[in-house]
């Protein structure tokens, strides 16, 4: 058997070499399909790594409480991500903040309530700015570098505000508007601090801090009538206590709402899960779209194999006359299709990573290589070879020897 396999491989190599251009073009079809899958997986992989890296930067001792419904469904992932724009009422309340802060082992608690609203001052109006209501403890949980002024603290008045770098430029045309005022919902706020420009646009709060206005959550509650709390961040005393503390938080919050579990408590890597999950969904979808080009490549393989089979009908007849069985012929053409797609696969991996490398030169995404991606490539390549090689090979193996012998090209 292994002898025959070696012979089939040698034959396939000879046949591919003989029709160099044709084989190369066929392989190229597969290579482009594989390359696009590699590119997408490698880029989304690197984005997902970026997100996870952000969570690590924030700190390993963080516990995040988010409103939730059904944790696993795709729609809930999307909802969690787009919570800032959600009109559904959040299940977290102001009372929950103090409940969480009273749990033993929690050293700091900061809510995040996001609202989009119009901000204006004497000169300019920003129609849809992100307003983030929180407490002074936000700065202890997630220390933000300030370029000017100070962050919200207990001594400030309720109408103090801290502004993001880009929003400051948009609203005041200066990077240092400390002491200036703005109006929001008819209430005047005074700028007491400006954030430093932040490079990373992705973070676990799902907010771009460059474009945000921080105000006190109680003021926000009064102005808006109600507050949508998207999440509550809590810092644990000790990393090793994360599990018992989060269990206690769950218990306390459950007591608050008579046993309902319409919230989720996460810590460590799972904080970034909603984002990673969505990314996984998107990357799978993109890979499927790229898979279409692979199907096209596969059809190319099938087409060329059919041509090859009909060109070599006479050869098939000779081989059968000297003792080849249908199975021998089947294997011969199967191997040819497999080797064609394998060469395409290898070409595709190099092409994909080369393009990913080119992309990484102009973006923060570094090419991401993992055994999963390589495994996916190998499996898809073999699958393409088998799926699109079977029909031509079957056609070859079923030819009658005397008919084939009479067939001349």
């Amino acid at each position: 058997m292994s002898l025959l396999v070696r012979t089939h491989i040698r034959l396939a190599r000879a046949s591919i070499k003989q029709n160099r251009t044709r084989s190369f073009l066929t392989c190229l079809g597969i290579a482009i399909g594989i390359a696009s899958i590699i590119l997408i997986l490698s880029l989304t992989g690197s984005i997902s790594n970026l997100i996870k890296g952000e969570t690590k930067n924030i700190g390993a001792d963080l516990i995040v409480i988010r409103p939730s419904h059904n944790k696993d469904s795709i729609t809930s992932i999307v909802e969690e991500l787009t919570a800032a724009n959600s009109f559904e009422r959040s299940s977290l309340t102001l009372a929950d903040i103090s409940t969480v802060s009273e749990v033993e082992g929690v050293t700091a608690t900061a809510p995040i309530a996001i609202s989009t609203n119009t901000l204006s001052n004497e000169e300019n109006t920003v129609p849809s700015a992100t307003i983030l209501g929180t407490t002074p403890e936000f700065n202890t949980i997630e220390p933000l570098a300030l370029r000017y002024g100070v962050f919200l603290n207990e001594k400030n008045s309720d109408t103090a505000a801290v502004i993001g770098h880009n929003l400051a430029l948009n609203l005041y045309k200066t990077s240092n508007p400390v002491g200036r005022t703005l109006t929001f919902q008819g209430q005047r706020f005074i700028i007491i601090g400006v954030l430093d420009e932040i490079e990373e646009s992705v973070n676990f709060d799902n907010v771009n801090f460059n474009n945000v206005l921080f105000i006190n959550i109680n003021t926000m509650d009064k102005l808006m009538g109600s507050t949508q709390i998207q999440q509550i961040n809590a810092r644990a005393l000790n990393t090793s206590l994360l599990e018992p503390i989060s269990e206690n938080i769950v218990k306390a919050l459950k007591d608050n709402r008579y046993g309902d579990t319409n919230f989720s408590v996460s810590y460590g890597d799972s904080i970034s899960h909603p984002a990673s999950n969505l990314l996984n969904i998107i990357s799978t979808l993109l890979a499927l779209v790229a898979g279409i080009s692979l199907v096209v490549g596969g059809i190319g393989v099938m087409n060329i194999m059919l041509v090859s089979v009909s060109e070599r009908t006479h050869e098939i007849g000779i081989r059968k006359a000297v003792g080849a069985s249908g199975q021998n012929i089947l294997m011969q053409f199967m191997f040819e299709a497999l080797i064609l797609s394998a060469i395409g696969g290898v070409l595709g991996v190099f092409l994909g990573y080369f393009v990913a490398f080119l992309v990484s030169l102009v973006t923060p995404f570094s090419p991401f290589i993992s055994w999963q991606i390589v495994a996916i490539t190998i499996v898809t390549t073999i699958a393409v070879g088998v799926i699109f090689g079977t029909y031509p090979a079957l056609k070859a193996s079923c030819k009658k020897p005397i008919d084939s012998l009479r067939h001349y090209v």
């Binding site: 058997m1 002898l3 025959l4 070696r6 012979t7 000879a14 046949s15 003989q18 006479h314 050869e315 007849g317 000779i318 081989r319 059968k320 006359a321 000297v322 003792g323 080849a324 069985s325 249908g326 199975q327 021998n328 020897p401 005397i402 012998l405």
Partner: protein
Amino acid sequence: MSVLDNTIIKLNGITKRYGYGDTTSYALKDFDLEVKRGEFIMIMGPSGCGKTTLLNIIGLLDRSTEGEYLLNGEDVSDISARRQARLRAKKIGFVFQDFNLIQNLTVIENVALPLVYVNRPRTVRLKAASNALKRFHLNEREYYRPDQLSGGQKQRVAIARAIVSDPEIILADEPTGNLDSRSSSIVMEELRAIHEEGNTIIMVTHNPSLTVYATRVINMLDGQIDTDVKTVADHNLPQPIEVKAKKRRARKISRTISSEINPEEEK
């Protein structure tokens, strides 16, 4: 009993029918034949009399519509295609009119081809092929392509391929049909030499002058045997020992077979 031992091919009432109803035509009609080890049979007859069909059925490339085919005493008329292929690989060597060499393969690879399908390692295959080619004085052309050879050389390559796996029967379908007379006689001399080693050869030809090489000449007409004659060559050519000893009886039996067929022909 020992005569039966020597029978390599036995056809009983082989019929090959094409088409249905009004369009039915017969390539072979109730054909009986017994071939003994060591015979060199020439089959002659006009075009369309079923010579090639007969050869294809004997060579397990085609199946009869009806009838029984015993190869070495084993009924092979209804075996699977896979088993047919195995038997072709082991027991039968083909020589065709138009050589049927694979153009992409070198001469030596062409000769070694049948050994691929009986699972011989590559070195063994090439060695056997090289020996076979040496025998036909083609060892200097081993790495030529078939289209770089003359017609006679191609046919000798094809004969080398037919004998490389040491088959029991060699079937030749007009092997000299595409050759000039000089190449023809060289090819026939090679076939004669193979026959002298005790091989069974069944050859289809149009050329009556070639019958001098045969031990038995069968004339076919309309899918049946017209005449079946043992030739002088039968006495002159050396044959395997058993065949020689039982020659008289064998001839007697073949005569009774043809007399069995003849009355049917008259109907």
